[in-house]
């Protein structure tokens, strides 16, 4: 038996809200689903019109993404039978695999630079936010405004000076250079978000820890950090998403050693015609880390983006 309640939504409105959410989720997921499907299509299916929703799946896109191939004479092909399923796939086009593509390397670069700059932004951001939140800092408000002002123009507006500076300093096309750059862009967001979270944690907890026999730094990491975990997690997601998806600086400042996946994926198109399935396969793999990271931290994220609104 259900009883009437003012705060508990009725069955009907729950049903309505549920339908809306599912509809919205479906609409936003269509492009993602399309990319994932295209990754498993053959090049012909990928560009067929009308678009195919039902097709015979193939790993061609993934094989093309991870390998470099060359066209060979019929003689060569006849004398060298395919050794594995990957060879068989590329034989359809009279090609052989000559080695791995650069995708693996570029993907690894993205991981190093994305997670590296996220870690650094959070590490520095947490310390700065704690200091701004707890200590009397001369001109604190002006400093905070200055920190925020670095975000008031599009980061790419300073691309040319950074490009010249990096060339002088030898930071062009290095992991360190990209980590520092993304950290510089993210840190203002990190300081501001984290300061908000730390402000919400009553000082009394630290004071209690100080009296309980701990130093200020011990009180910080034993009492403040665990309570700021929610804020740290959601800030980390924002930082990672920016660093992971950044395209313009990556195109400008990296070309080889430190090139990340975003500028690399479009270059696949140029290799042997319009290979959409390989591009889609690259995009799918590229999405995974952020997706996994977000799913792992999603509880925190949900609580994090409503920060300030709900107090426990």
């Amino acid at each position: 038996m259900s009883s009437f309640s003012v705060t508990e939504p009725s069955k009907r409105s729950k049903w309505f809200a549920g339908t809306l959410v599912i509809l919205y989720a479906l609409i936003t997921m269509i492009p993602l689903a399309w990319i994932m499907l295209t990754g498993f299509k053959s090049p012909a299916d990928a560009i067929s019109y009308p678009p195919k929703v039902i097709f015979e799946p193939t790993l061609e896109g993934y094989v093309n993404l991870f390998t470099q191939r060359t066209r060979q004479t019929e003689d060569f092909l006849a004398n060298n039978p395919p050794e594995n399923w990957r060879d068989e796939i590329v034989r359809q086009y009279d090609m052989v695999i000559v080695g791995p593509s650069k995708f693996g390397e570029r993907f690894l670069n993205s991981v190093i630079i994305g997670f590296g700059s996220t870690f650094l932004s959070i590490f520095l951001g947490t310390l700065a936010a704690y200091a701004f939140s707890r200590f009397k800092i001369p001109l604190a408000d002006d400093l905070l405004f200055f920190i925020l002002s670095t975000r008031m123009m599009p980061p790419i507006a300073v691309a040319i000076p950074i490009f010249l500076m990096y060339r002088q300093l030898g930071l062009s096309d290095t992991h360190l250079g990209m980590i520092l750059l993304y950290t510089a862009v993210n840190i203002s967001l990190a300081v501001w978000l984290l300061k908000g979270f730390i402000d919400e944690i009553p000082r009394e907890y630290e004071e209690a820890a100080l009296i309980d026999g701990y130093t200020r730094f011990q009180a910080f990491y034993k009492v403040v950090l665990p309570q700021a975990a929610t804020g740290i997690a959601s800030t980390a997601i924002f930082c990672l998403i920016f660093a992971w998806n950044e395209y313009a600086f990556a195109v400008l400042l990296t070309s080889g050693t430190a090139q990340t996946a975003p500028p690399f994926i479009p270059t696949i198109i140029g290799v042997g015609g319009l290979d959409w399935p390989a591009v889609a396969a690259g995009a799918t793999i590229f999405l995974l880390p952020v997706m996994i990271f977000t799913i792992l931290l999603r509880k925190n994220l949900l609580r994090g983006i409503t920060f300030g609104a709900v107090r426990k």
């Binding site: 009553p202 009394e204 209690a208 100080l210 009296i211 309980d212 026999g213 426990k312």
Partner: protein
């Protein structure tokens, strides 16, 4: 346990006076209650002793050491806060063990387990030890927070209105319990409250604060029977002391502007005629609200006698307290 001495302690926050020139000695094993209204400097005094605030001038001595240069951790004090006292990310057990695990105490885990269960037993929270601190009721939280102080054996326990957020029954129970624990441990305790019942029932010494200054320090009985100002007299006693112009009854020493009579210090049957306004039957006594020449008075009366509103009775003061125009006592 140890003696704590404050010498000419002052602290202001900008233009606000927190504590003004307080000197006080808290004897070893004493239960000292600081009494005063909001903003009188009670909490600031505790925070200065604990080292959470730095004094502007004056000295604090704990166990014979001047602690001016010591951090809160080094001062060896335990404090119970009014609110926000439990670490919300820890269980009750870990909250209680937190001070014992500090780098200063570094208690072996075996001893921690023993102490935590002892204290939990005393405070009747044993069954909640594995709960998250946030999953407790207000009363349980406050007991855990008192427990977190009791697991230690500090020079002094500082308590900042620890019972103020509890309901009446729990407050009474814990008051008795706290006094029992303090007496059995022989602990030195400085306790801040604005509740005079707490002050009267638990304290060995009461310090009355007003606007940052210590206006009187003595046993609860001294403070009640022998207040040195009208302010102190009106802080203690329920119903409050009745204050009348000196001229009404006459016979006061010269310079007296006002006389104060506690409700039990009004004799009936003789003297001036007052009108009964209202009678409150409390069971063991009656409270009479009287009007005497336009002044409201409260007194207590025998519960077996019926008083009708509108009736007239004769009253006279018994050992009234005399105060001058500034509220200072004239003896």
């Amino acid at each position: 346990m140890a003696e704590v001495t404050l010498k000419n302690l002052s602290k202001s926050f900008g233009t606000d006076v927190g504590v003004a020139d307080i000197s006080m000695s808290i004897p070893d094993g004493a239960f000292v209650v600081l009494l005063g209204p909001t903003g009188a400097g009670k909490t600031t005094t505790l925070r200065l002793i604990s080292g959470l605030e730095k004094e502007d001038t004056g000295e604090i001595w704990i166990s014979g050491r001047n602690v001016a240069r010591e951090t809160p951790a080094q001062r060896d004090v335990a404090m119970v806060f009014q609110q926000y006292s439990l670490y919300p990310h820890l269980t009750v057990r870990d909250n209680l063990a937190f001070p014992l695990r500090s780098p200063i105490l570094k208690t072996p885990e075996g001893d921690i387990a023993r102490k935590v269960s002892e204290v939990a037993e005393v405070l009747q929270i044993s069954h909640k030890l594995d709960n998250k601190a946030t999953a407790l009721s207000g009363g349980e939280m406050q007991r855990v927070s008192i427990g977190r102080a009791l697991v230690r054996d500090p020079a002094i326990y500082l308590m900042d209105e620890p019972l103020s957020s509890l309901d009446a029954k729990l407050r009474t129970d814990l008051r008795v319990e706290l006094k029992r624990i303090q007496a059995s441990l022989g602990a030195t305790l400085l306790y801040v409250t604005h509740d005079q019942i707490e002050a009267m029932t638990m304290a060995t010494h009461v310090g009355v604060l007003n606007e940052g200054g210590l206006v009187q320090f003595g046993t609860p009985r001294e403070i009640y029977e022998n207040p040195n100002s009208l302010y102190v007299a009106s802080r203690l006693g329920l119903p409050r002391i009745n204050v009348l112009p000196a001229g009404i009854f006459g016979g006061a020493p010269s310079g007296t502007a006002q006389i104060g009579m506690r409700p039990e210090h009004i004799a009936q049957g003789d003297g001036l005629e007052a009108e009964v306004q209202r009678v409150e039957h409390l069971g063991d006594q009656n409270r009479l609200h009287l009007i005497l020449q336009g002044h409201a008075l409260t007194t207590i009366a025998d519960p077996s006698v019926d008083y009708e509103p509108g009736a007239h009775i004769k009253i006279a003061p018994r050992n009234p307290l005399c105060f001058d125009a500034d509220g200072n006592r004239i003896r």
